[in-house]
């Protein structure tokens, strides 16, 4: 344990800056609450198109998180534990969707998995009749594309923080690779894995640009909650505000639950 240095009081302007920082984020969110008509909140959320958007969002975002987990866990492992030439390049590419405009991500996905001129998509369609675009699976692909880096980042950080002596110890005690993975590594990794899953899921849930570009905006089929919010803003603003509120609450809950994992009993 490192000894904590005594905390010196920061200058006043730092405090003022911090207050503005908090306000900058919170003011718009709190203002949003004012727009919501609480009396009709429930009826708006259970209305046909809104309900189907919420349902679709729930299903696709969970599926996208699972996909991100399947692809992200081994990837994070390699990035954290294997040293190879150009690993920084691999990392840079994997992190790209975090900073890339999502629409560009959507266009790139079309170039790869599009039915008409996608690199793989055309093969899939011509040989198996599979069309990923305009399908819920397309939504999952778009969401996982933007969510994956968040998962990889959290898990890689977690893996680096694990003291590898625990795993070595398990080996000397006769544990095979699989037992070692389940009983030792995964257990030690749990806090960062949960955090990674939570952020990846929240990001998948909020995905807009890549989804509308790649999977389209078909009501009941590919119209997720963020897409519905955008379209409803003009036709039915109240419903849009209600849906935004749901997304906001979910994201706040995710972050609060992560706080418990990170700063609660473990530390």
């Amino acid at each position: 344990m490192t000894k904590r240095r005594p905390i010196s009081r920061p200058p006043v302007f730092i405090f003022v800056g911090a207050i503005f920082g908090v306000m900058y984020i919170c003011l718009p969110l709190v203002s949003l609450l004012r727009k919501i008509s609480w009396g009709s909140l429930l009826s708006q959320l259970t209305d046909g198109p809104t309900l189907s958007a919420l349902r679709l969002s729930l299903v696709t975002s969970i599926a996208a998180t699972v996909l991100a987990l399947i692809l992200g866990l081994p990837l994070a492992w390699v990035l954290a534990r294997v040293s190879f030439r150009g690993s920084y390049l691999v990392r840079a590419f994997v992190m790209l969707p975090m900073v890339l405009p999502p629409v560009v991500g959507g266009v790139a996905l079309l170039a790869a998995y599009g039915k008409s001129n996608g690199l793989i998509g055309a093969l899939l369609f011509d040989n198996f009749g599979v069309q990923l675009t305009f399908s819920p699976i397309g939504v999952v692909i778009a969401e996982a594309f933007v969510a994956l880096p968040f998962l990889v980042m959290a898990v890689e950080g977690g893996l680096r923080a694990i003291d590898s002596r625990y795993e070595e110890l398990a080996s000397t005690m006769g544990a095979n690779e699989i037992t070692k993975f389940y009983r030792v590594t995964l257990r030690l990794l749990r806090p960062s894995l949960v955090a990674g899953i939570a952020v990846a899921w929240a990001r998948a849930l909020g995905e807009f640009g890549a989804t509308i570009t790649f999977a389209g905006n078909i009501q009941g089929r590919t119209q997720t909650t963020p897409l519905a919010v955008y379209l409803l803003l003009e036709s039915d603003p109240q419903a849009a505000y209600s849906l935004s509120f749901v997304l906001l609450v979910v994201c706040v809950l995710v972050l609060i639950s992560m706080r418990d994992r990170w700063l609660g009993s473990k530390r």
Partner: protein
């Protein structure tokens, strides 16, 4: 060291972007002894996305005649532009793909009676399909055979016009086959770069995208008359230039330019 490298990279990126945007280019030559009052300053024109190509060209010509004027565009669906303006977005001119969005602004007071609301162009709808027309769409009725049809949202003018076209053809397409785009340009993009089989958008948009889509015309009897309106906004910070631009649109030169993009004479 890391930090320094980052700074250099940032500086490089900024300078590249700045040079692309033409920042730092010499000021246009100062005009001496202009006979009448020289128009100058910047205006922001909020325009329907279907005007993107034509307005950029028109602005170029307008700026040639008025070198001290700069025109900035804010393209989007007419209905979203109206919402932005009503929410206080600074803009001098609104050019909408229909008249009802201008009426909305008159009602909310953003366009006053001195706002010169004018009709400046007319347009039609057309069908865009994949190059080579693989599904052999020849009429609106043939759209029943497509798998995915890309249309604008129903609150957007091009979505309403498309709905009228379908209604005139007595064609009822299930919503589960319709992907809704935010404006005319993105509706067309779903066909040109995406996997939508067809789209009903403005004829001018299909003509502009001739390389990436094929055009199927819709006969007059089944078509709509899309009337484009332009108006000066109450909060315009540069009324002189804004009014001059509006007048330029309806002038012979402006009309000629609009028609070269496929718009119909007013």
């Amino acid at each position: 060291m890391q930090f320094r490298r980052l700074l250099i990279a940032l500086a490089l990126a900024v300078s590249v972007i700045a040079s692309l945007a033409g920042v730092g280019q010499g000021e246009a030559a100062y005009q001496l002894g202009a006979p009448e009052k020289v128009l100058q300053g910047t205006i922001t024109v909020s325009a329907a996305s279907s005007l993107s190509e034509s307005f950029v060209e028109i602005a170029k010509e307008f700026q040639k005649e008025n070198p001290k004027v700069k025109i900035r565009f804010n393209f989007g669906s007419s209905s979203s532009l109206v919402a932005q303006i009503q929410a206080g977005a600074p803009s001098d001119v609104i050019a909408s793909a229909d008249l009802s969005n201008i009426e909305k602004l008159i009602k909310s007071g953003e366009v006053t009676s001195s706002g010169y609301p004018k009709i400046f162009a007319r347009n039609q709808m057309a069908i865009a399909v994949k190059p080579g027309n693989p599904l052999r769409v020849k009429t609106v009725g043939d759209l029943r055979n497509v798998k995915f049809l890309s249309l604008c949202g129903l609150t957007v003018p091009c979505g309403q016009y498309a709905a009228t076209v379908l209604k005139l053809a007595r064609l009822n397409i299930n919503e589960s086959k319709i992907t809704r785009a935010v404006d005319a340009k993105s509706a067309l993009n779903a066909v040109s770069i995406g996997d939508a089989d067809a789209s009903i958008v403005y004829l001018t948009d299909v003509l502009s995208a001739k390389k990436s889509v094929a055009l199927v015309k819709i006969p007059r009897a089944l078509n709509v008359d899309a009337i484009y309106g332009v108006a000066l906004l109450r909060n315009s910070a540069n009324r002189e230039v804004a009014v001059a631009f509006i007048n330029y649109l309806v002038s012979a030169k402006g009309q000629e330019l609009l028609q070269s993009f496929g718009f119909i004479k007013i």
